[in-house]
């Protein structure tokens, strides 16, 4: 299953590394990454494949949320379907 991981917050050293290693720990494969910095705000969007993941998406969502709170960032994972529903006919 494909999902979208988004990271939003104030730029700081090691954001990408932290998120990627957390995803790797749970065998989530990153298919695509895009990243920008707008007025010091770091925005990263990743397309990931969770089919080999050892946890449910709900558990991963909690882990990412926790990791985000520790760094004062908003990190979330959402199933890709929600974006497709809203932006593709």
């Amino acid at each position: 299953m494909k999902a979208i991981v988004t990271v939003i917050g104030k730029d700081q050293v090691g954001i990408t590394a932290a998120v990627c290693s957390l995803l790797a720990q749970h065998s989530i494969n990153i298919l695509d990454i895009s990243q920008t910095i707008l007025q010091e705000y770091f925005t990263m969007v990743m397309l990931v494949d969770t089919s080999a993941c050892d946890k449910t998406i709900v558990e991963i969502s909690d882990l990412l949320d926790q990791a985000g709170k520790e760094r004062n960032l908003s990190i979330r994972i959402q199933r890709e379907d929600i974006f497709n529903a809203m932006h593709r006919i």
Partner: protein, 452 residues
């Protein structure tokens, strides 16, 4: 591949513009629970609801996490209790409300609707029993919502029931006087009630519905408001197009959630209700959308036209996004639940008369309006009759949810808390309609041709 822009747009809608699924409502038929022994009937009701809706809340929460979209309420609607209780050996139906309340609490849902009767053409003994039980039932339970349908385009208006409902509302307000008449926030009087409405307090599971069903109500006034900010000063054609596109996106999201919930709960998907349901939160207001169209304050001249455009564009945009559209589908204008409406009513710009005019062009009716505690039962009945007449003649659903707040009058306000919000007490006309209401009988069904 989705663009980063599209993804961020959705996230902003959720984070900053209050986009959410307002409710997943499971409709459950209780017709199989009719028993002559009241206790046996109540036990059967409790067992059936808790069996069918056992996983409703957990499933809703899982979907919420996986899709990252808030699902604010999980609710249950049931067959109108007047039908289920008709065979029972009692004329006080409060035990049925208690059973519903207990089942709702066991399932963990926010509200359960269906302590209802459909009396548009007349009342059976069971309907009378149910209406007589409403004050006790709603004042002694927490989560039970009640509705009574007093009119329809095909049947006309049952004025005996209208008179009875005025007295029922007064009684209920008195019994919940310590909470500002809060009981009345759980009671709706309808004309042309729909069988698949997922929104409270008026939800019930109609007799034409299947054994169980999942209905979803979407929301998103904040998203529409935000979208309109980008087309300031442009003609109404552009305004309508912008609302349609936004409504389409919101509804697609609702449809996805509805299908997912239906699949996981092994329950047929019923409808998506395309409604703009406001909350008291800043930036989640229908009134502010109307003001964004160019009105200084909601309630001034032009408000009805603005609302007509909004309501129609929401439906047009939403209808293509969902396989089945139903329920109330339109913009809601509950005064106490809408930050902009509260402000407009407090400033005196939004009156009861203007609200009545607005209900001609939108769903649903005079909703969550606090009126003085000394408003007579006959005046409440006359307000209900006016609103039912609008629904009857225009072949649309209208409803009345008024709270005559005990001990309070114009200039005071009342706080209900949470999604039900806060309301200034609004004035009603001081002139009597007693002789009108006392006539009773039925207002005949209207012509459906020669329309003018």
């Amino acid at each position: 591949m989705l663009s980063q822009n599209e993804i961020m747009q959705t996230i902003q809608m959720i984070d900053q513009q209050h986009l959410d699924v307002r409710t997943i409502t499971m409709g459950i038929s209780l017709l199989s629970c009719a028993r002559s022994d009241t206790k046996a009937a109540c036990d059967a009701i409790y067992d059936k609801i808790t069996r069918y809706a056992e996983n409703l809340v957990a499933t809703g929460e899982a979907i919420e996490k996986e899709f990252g979209i808030p699902i604010v309420n999980k609710r249950i609607s049931v067959t109108p209790i007047a039908l289920v209780a008709a065979a029972a050996d009692t004329d006080n139906y409060t035990p049925f409300a208690v059973a519903l309340d207990k089942a709702a609490k066991t399932c963990g849902v926010n509200f359960i609707g269906g302590f209802s009767a459909l009396v548009q053409k007349g009342m059976t003994q069971a309907d009378r029993n149910l209406i007589a039980s409403i004050p006790e039932a709603l004042s002694t339970t927490d989560l039970v919502c009640s509705s009574v349908n007093v009119g329809s385009t095909k049947a006309g208006i049952d004025m005996d029931a209208v008179a009875l409902m005025g007295r029922t509302i007064k009684d209920l307000a008195q019994r919940t006087a310590d909470q500002g008449g809060f009981g009345c926030a759980k009671l709706v009087v309808f004309c042309n009630a729909v069988e698949d409405n997922p929104f409270m307090a008026g939800a019930f599971h109609g007799v034409g519905e299947p054994e169980k069903v999942i209905n979803v109500g979407v929301s998103g006034p904040g998203v529409v408001y935000h979208a309109l900010q980008s087309v300031k000063g442009q003609p109404f054609d552009v305004v309508a197009e912008t609302i349609k596109k936004t409504a389409f996106r919101i509804t697609r999201m609702g449809q996805l959630v509805a299908q997912e919930a239906s699949r996981r709960l092994d329950t047929p998907f019923g409808i998506v209700d395309l409604s703009l349901a406001p909350t008291p939160a800043i930036g989640d207001s229908v009134a502010r959308i109307l003001e964004e169209m160019g009105l200084e304050v909601c309630g001034t001249h032009g408000t009805t036209a603005a609302l007509a455009l909004l309501n129609d564009a929401v439906k047009k945009g939403g209808v293509m996004a969902s396989s089945h559209v139903g329920g109330l589908s339109g913009a809601f204008i509950p005064v106490s639940e809408d930050e902009g409406m509260i402000a407009a009513a407090s400033s005196g710009a939004l009156t009861l008369d203007k609200l009545e005019a607005m209900t001609c062009v939108c769903s649903v009716g005079l909703d969550m309006i606090a009126v003085p505690g000394d408003t007579t039962a006959e005046t409440l009945s006359a307000i209900i009759a006016d609103e039912a007449a609008i629904g009857m003649v225009n072949s649309k659903t209208t409803a009345v949810r008024l709270i005559p707040v005990p001990g309070k009058t114009v200039g005071d306000s009342v706080e209900f808390g949470g999604l039900l919000g806060f309301a200034p007490i609004q004035p009603v006309h001081p002139f009597s309609a007693k002789a009108f209401v006392d006539r009773g009988g039925r207002i005949p069904a209207p012509m459906q041709s020669l329309k003018n």
